[in-house]
């Protein structure tokens, strides 16, 4: 029944219908014991307008139907466990299995958030130590693990900046953001009620002190900067820029999404940064890209510590406890205490790597990116030719002569077995292809990838139509992204 004609019918991998198209009327995948609670008639207890008149069209499937359906779908996934994934700025590195082993220990996995604190001491100690580790790694004074993702960390950080400035008498109105920033930065500012002023990067792809000085005034609450930036370049004027911002009473926010390039080597706290968020699901190897959830802790300098989201974990003489008695706190940003399972994984990773190991992470991530950069610059235009950090940005400039655009190259990469890189970002590079190999890939993997990219570059010249019509190999061929965006269908409608 599932071995239909058309795309997806290849060997033993079948096209997979939706779960709604599986099963048969009356088939059940569960059996429940007799309820001890007497049945109630909903019509007597709930307003008629809130009751459905027809049964919901739920799938009627057996346990095996469900298992096969989702196992098959999972086999279609492309993941870091199945192949190289050079998705720029996402740090798709290997998530060590020891993280999973530790996170599954029942002492962590079976905790209930409402348990008395006296029975949570191990978990609290782990959170306390992770707060300390993150602060130490980044050169900051204190941290909160609560935000559930990078963007929520940004939001929490800006809330703290706002509360701090408000206490100084004026919350101010603007935030400065370089044009090489992550797209979430302006969104977080808008969510906090700040107007965004975009700063132009200099010719070298980094922010210059002159541009910041010109834009900086007493209405600027903060500068929000990503270091290394999304061009994969280190912002070398960071300390000088931070001083310009501080001199006018503003604060400096650093987006830590690209921390993988400098972890253990440089501390943003030493460069004048007042708030930093971490993406545990990038630098600290917790699952990522649908395997989440994410975790975006924030670390701050002393002046902002009173404003950290509530609660933080504190150490008492002989125990650990949630500290709620923090009147200046911006409050909770997440139900309960953040995504605790991710803390266990990140803590495990830090302890496994140690200080020396983390330094090697940065060294190898930068080495791998520069190896890609040097090898691929023969075939693809490099937007900024200097030494890069953890990622480098190519464009379709050389291939455009053959009518090939970045999107075509990205699709063709799928035929060679690779997840495409981040494309058309950063916005300041036309036709950008942003590649981040990460430190966990071997020389052989990189060489194989470079060979594939070389083939694609040649195909652009010799058989551009093949590239334009890619992908040819995957189960699903070229999707009509334009139609999907122009005529989105949000609701599943049963056939027949």
């Amino acid at each position: 029944m599932t071995a239909r004609e058309g795309p997806g019918k290849r060997g033993m991998i079948f096209a997979e219908p939706t779960i709604f198209e599986r099963g048969a009327p009356g088939r059940e995948g569960f059996s429940l014991a007799q309820s001890e609670v007497p049945l109630h008639d909903p019509a007597k207890e709930i307003d008629a307008s809130l009751l459905r008149s027809e049964a919901a069209l739920l799938p009627e499937v057996s346990e095996l139907d469900v298992l096969r359906h989702f196992t098959r779908l999972s086999q279609w996934n492309y993941s870091i466990d199945t192949g190289f994934y050079p998705l720029g700025s996402c740090t798709m590195k290997y998530n060590p299995r020891v993280n999973e082993e530790v996170a599954r220990m029942s002492g962590w996995a079976k905790l209930h958030p409402h348990q008395p604190q006296s029975t949570l001491q191990g978990a609290l100690e782990l959170m306390y130590l992770l707060q300390k580790f993150l602060a130490q790694i980044s050169g900051m004074d204190a941290a909160s693990l609560q935000p559930a993702a990078g963007a929520q960390g940004e939001f929490a950080g800006l809330l703290m900046i706002r509360a701090y400035l408000q206490d100084q008498g004026n919350a101010r109105t603007k935030v400065l953001i370089p044009d090489s920033a992550h797209g979430t930065n302006p969104a977080s500012c808008a969510a906090c009620g700040y107007e965004v002023v975009t700063l132009k990067s200099g010719a070298q792809g980094i922010l210059t002190p002159e541009v910041v000085a010109q834009a900086m005034d007493e209405e600027v609450a903060a500068l929000m900067i990503t270091n290394p930036n999304t061009l994969g370049l280190f912002e070398t004027h960071m300390a000088e820029i931070a001083k310009i911002v501080h001199d006018k009473g503003g604060l400096v926010y650093c987006d830590g999404a690209n921390l993988n390039a400098i972890v253990g080597k440089a501390r943003v706290g030493d460069m004048g940064v007042d708030v930093l968020h971490f993406n545990l699901h990038k630098t600290f190897t917790t699952p990522h890209g649908g395997g989440g959830p994410g975790a975006g802790p924030v670390a701050v300098k002393k002046i902002l510590e009173p404003y950290l989201p509530n609660p933080v974990v504190m150490r008492r003489e002989d125990s650990f406890a949630f500290d709620f008695d923090r009147p200046k706190s911006v409050g909770r940003v997440k139900a309960f205490y953040g995504n605790f399972g991710m803390f266990v994984r990140a803590y495990t990773y830090i302890r496994e790597m140690g200080a020396v190991g983390l330094r090697e992470v940065a060294e190898r991530a930068v080495l791998n990116a520069n190896y890609l950069r040097k090898k691929l610059e023969k075939f693809f235009h490099l937007a900024y030719p200097q030494t890069c950090m953890h990622e480098c940005v190519f464009s379709d400039k050389k291939q455009s002569a053959y009518g090939i655009k970045t999107l075509n190259i990205a699709k063709r990469m799928m035929d060679y077995g690779y997840h495409p890189p981040t494309i058309y970002f950063p916005l300041i590079v036309a036709g950008a292809m942003m590649m981040e190999p990460t430190e966990t890939e071997s020389l052989q993997t990189l060489d194989r990838f470079i060979w594939s990219m070389e083939q694609i570059a040649k195909e652009c010249e010799t058989s551009p139509e093949t590239v334009k019509a890619a992908p040819h190999v995957p189960k699903v061929r070229r999707l009509d992204e334009v139609k999907a965006a122009r005529e989105p269908k949000y609701i599943y409608k049963a056939k027949g």
Binding site: Y424, F425, L427, A485, R486
Partner: protein
């Protein structure tokens, strides 16, 4: 890239067609080409007063989302609503059926800040370099 001589331009890639005290505004051929297939358009309300440099709408393509900037201050007389249902018009005919708003100018002095076709062509040449 097509830049009609009778239009004026902004460095943010809007074009302006002047007719007495009113102006039609849209995005340039270069802009639509850089954006790629446009999938969503947001336009302002008619009768709304807008100031030069403010954003008056949004265009979204499969690549990115871009704000549209008001080239000349004034009041919106009319918006090109068919674009909302059929944003592809912007790709097909940016200078014709793809016009976006019609503005009654409140400060015609601002016209001299706009670019002539030659200057705009130079600008996109530099941007593409």
């Amino acid at each position: 890239m097509n830049c009609p001589k009778d239009l004026k331009y902004t460095s943010e890639h809007e074009w302006v067609s002047l007719d007495g005290n009113t102006a039609l505004v849209g995005i340039t051929d270069y802009a639509q080409d850089q954006l790629g297939d446009i999938v969503f358009v947001e336009l302002p309300e008619e009768e709304e007063t807008i100031d030069q440099g403010d954003t008056f709408g949004v265009v979204e393509s499969t690549k990115s989302v871009s704000d549209l900037y008001v080239p000349l201050s004034g009041k919106i007389l009319e918006t090109n609503d068919p674009l909302l249902d059929n944003p592809g018009i912007l790709n097909e005919d940016p200078y014709g059926d793809g016009w976006m708003i019609k503005v009654e100018l409140s400060n015609p002095d601002e016209i001299k800040e706009l670019l002539e076709a030659e200057a705009y062509e130079q600008l996109i040449k530099e941007e593409g370099a």
